[in-house]
Symmetry: C2
Subunit: 346 residues, 2 copies
């Protein structure tokens, strides 16, 4: 490990040279107002003569801009790298932040026990704001980062109706309704649902959409799962044991549906002839490689990431005072539409 | 977006209450020396009375510890999420940092154009140090972060022999030698090599290991590639067209070997009967799923990540003055051994 040895001129040296206080230099250097023009001129001259470069950490204390945005995925890092959903969302975020020369700072954790540390980093003045996704209902993180400008991926499920939170989501309930209606239209009557993790609003909303259509659904046709491939396999086995007459499955996401397809094949059920299957997300590497290719509800995950970043940056710009900034106010949440993509499985 | 509205007592308020200068308060709060005991007592009392909590960014300017370590993978984020090598290395790093309650800060980029911004963040006082891997030879990053404690993953290929750099690597050359010797021991004579990206020392070292054994190798048997599956496919096609009599392939990593296996099958060559294939890394999700399962040179990627984090943290502890710290000095680089893992492909 090597260490910078060149001595940089200090703020104090600039103050001494200009014959003003440290605080005045700080205000001038950081573009703040309230300093009379002759003093500003003297400080500028001293800065130039000494070749003073403001320390970024010190400057950030005043300007409060770091040109860096944190991304927090409220899942263990093993999950972050195993589920292509997060890679897609990060791709959108990365493109948008890079276009604004803002650094993407991904805070990884081993699990929820580490969220207090994450909150400390977020509140510690290292980033301009945070993009938080895959939040579970009882996660303490939002309460710990109240002072940090944040945009959520997916509607937070706070008991006060998520008031004040800015989020980007897709129409989970409407998308689920369309999927189940499509199965009904195919003449299916025993339509099962494999849910996502029900401590996440996306899973609750998709279940609600299923129930909107299957008003008197047999409760035995609903199996709780967790958005994972292994969870999808377990749920499909459970459902087949319990309801051998089922003729369709709506799974809460694509990787769960892929797990269900493996079990159906293992049990000798033909898809879609015996059992029609629909997923959710339309993650291309998954949906195009399943056997048969998966009919699914498409949400544009990469675009959602891009939009989250855009909303956050727009909100930050509004906080920075200046003649070019728009009217004050926080950006609004956005709910994007979904589309049913028909392939071979339903 | 919500904002903290509670007014916190400032450093100035503490200084006024204690009747000392701002600088004195700062020194006391940050545990610095050089303040006389009666003054220290007065400041402590004022801090207590006002309920002053030092701003973390401000405190970090003095203590220079953030309990956060940056990870920089010198590849575009698309590559980071597509290549399981990085997920494994991050797993090891994450476990080690979490055990020391240090936050893993992954800095993602769209490509090398963003490395100046990464360097700005690293030098900006947001992390205690950096773990940098997948460095390419002409990357300007190391020069830009000279003041930041850094441990490299893989030996940097600087012209001065990487003097002063601390790195963790595996015995790339020795591992490659063992792989090629194994192929020779199987009676193979026309042994090809698909290289990695030759602007990385790991690729150069593996090529050197191949040449150590194949002293008079036909240059037509060496095809330059880039560590990617698509690159492996391209290289294998090229080699088969040029040297249809080849009877073995040593690929610079597992995902390249997986690409080569696909092309060999496509061209009707049986593995290992017609062509024996060996990879490098032993990434289990890859090597166990290839057809046939892949013989490879094992390096413990997760452990390398863990070791990088450990070396960095140890180095940081040594920089912190105090009676409990060990003798000054920088930690040494580590080169880990490799093992040949025999499966069906060779």
């Amino acid at each position: 490990m090597t260490e910078q040895s060149t001595e940089r001129p200090t703020l104090e040296a600039v103050a001494a040279r200009a014959g003003v206080s440290r605080a005045t230099v700080s205000r001038v250097v950081n573009g703040g107002d309230g300093v009379r023009e002759p003093l500003v001129e003297r400080v500028r001259q001293a800065v130039e003569e000494l070749g003073y470069v403001p320390n970024q950490a010190a400057r950030s204390l005043v300007t409060r801009r770091h040109d860096a945005v944190a991304v927090v995925i409220a899942e263990p890092e093993t999950r972050v790298f195993a589920d292509p959903f997060f890679a897609l969302q990060l791709r959108g975020i990365s493109k948008e932040l890079t276009a604004h020369d803002s650094q993407l700072v991904l805070l990884l954790t081993e699990g929820r026990d580490d969220h207090a540390r994450v909150a400390r980093y977020l509140a510690g003045g290292h980033v301009d704001g945070a993009l938080v996704f895959s939040l579970h209902l009882d996660d303490p993180l939002p309460g710990l980062i109240r002072g940090v400008p944040t945009v959520y991926g997916g509607r937070p499920g706070w008991s006060d109706g998520s008031r004040g939170a800015v989020y980007v989501d897709c129409d989970n309930r409407g998308g689920a309704r369309e999927a189940v209606r499509h199965l009904v239209g195919l003449g299916r009557r025993r339509i099962a649902h494999i849910t996502g993790a029900l401590d996440q609003t996306s899973a609750v909303d998709r279940l609600d959409g299923y129930r909107d259509v299957m008003v008197d659904a047999d409760p035995k046709l609903i199996e709780e799962s967790d958005f994972s491939p292994a969870g999808g396999e377990r749920a499909m086995r459970e459902l087949l044991d319990r309801c051998p007459d089922l003729d369709a499955v709506f799974a809460a996401n694509d990787i769960t549906a892929a797990g269900a397809l493996r079990v159906l094949r293992e049990r000798g059920r033909r898809v879609p002839e015996d059992v029609a299957v629909i997923g959710f997300d339309d993650m291309l590497p998954v949906t195009e490689r399943t056997d048969p290719p998966l009919t699914t509800v498409r949400q544009d995950i990469e675009d959602m990431g891009r939009l989250m970043a855009r909303l956050l940056l727009r909100g930050l710009d509004r906080r920075t005072p200046g003649p070019e900034s728009g009217p004050a106010g926080t950006p609004s949440s956005v709910v994007l539409p979904t589309t049913l993509v028909r392939r071979a499985s339903a």
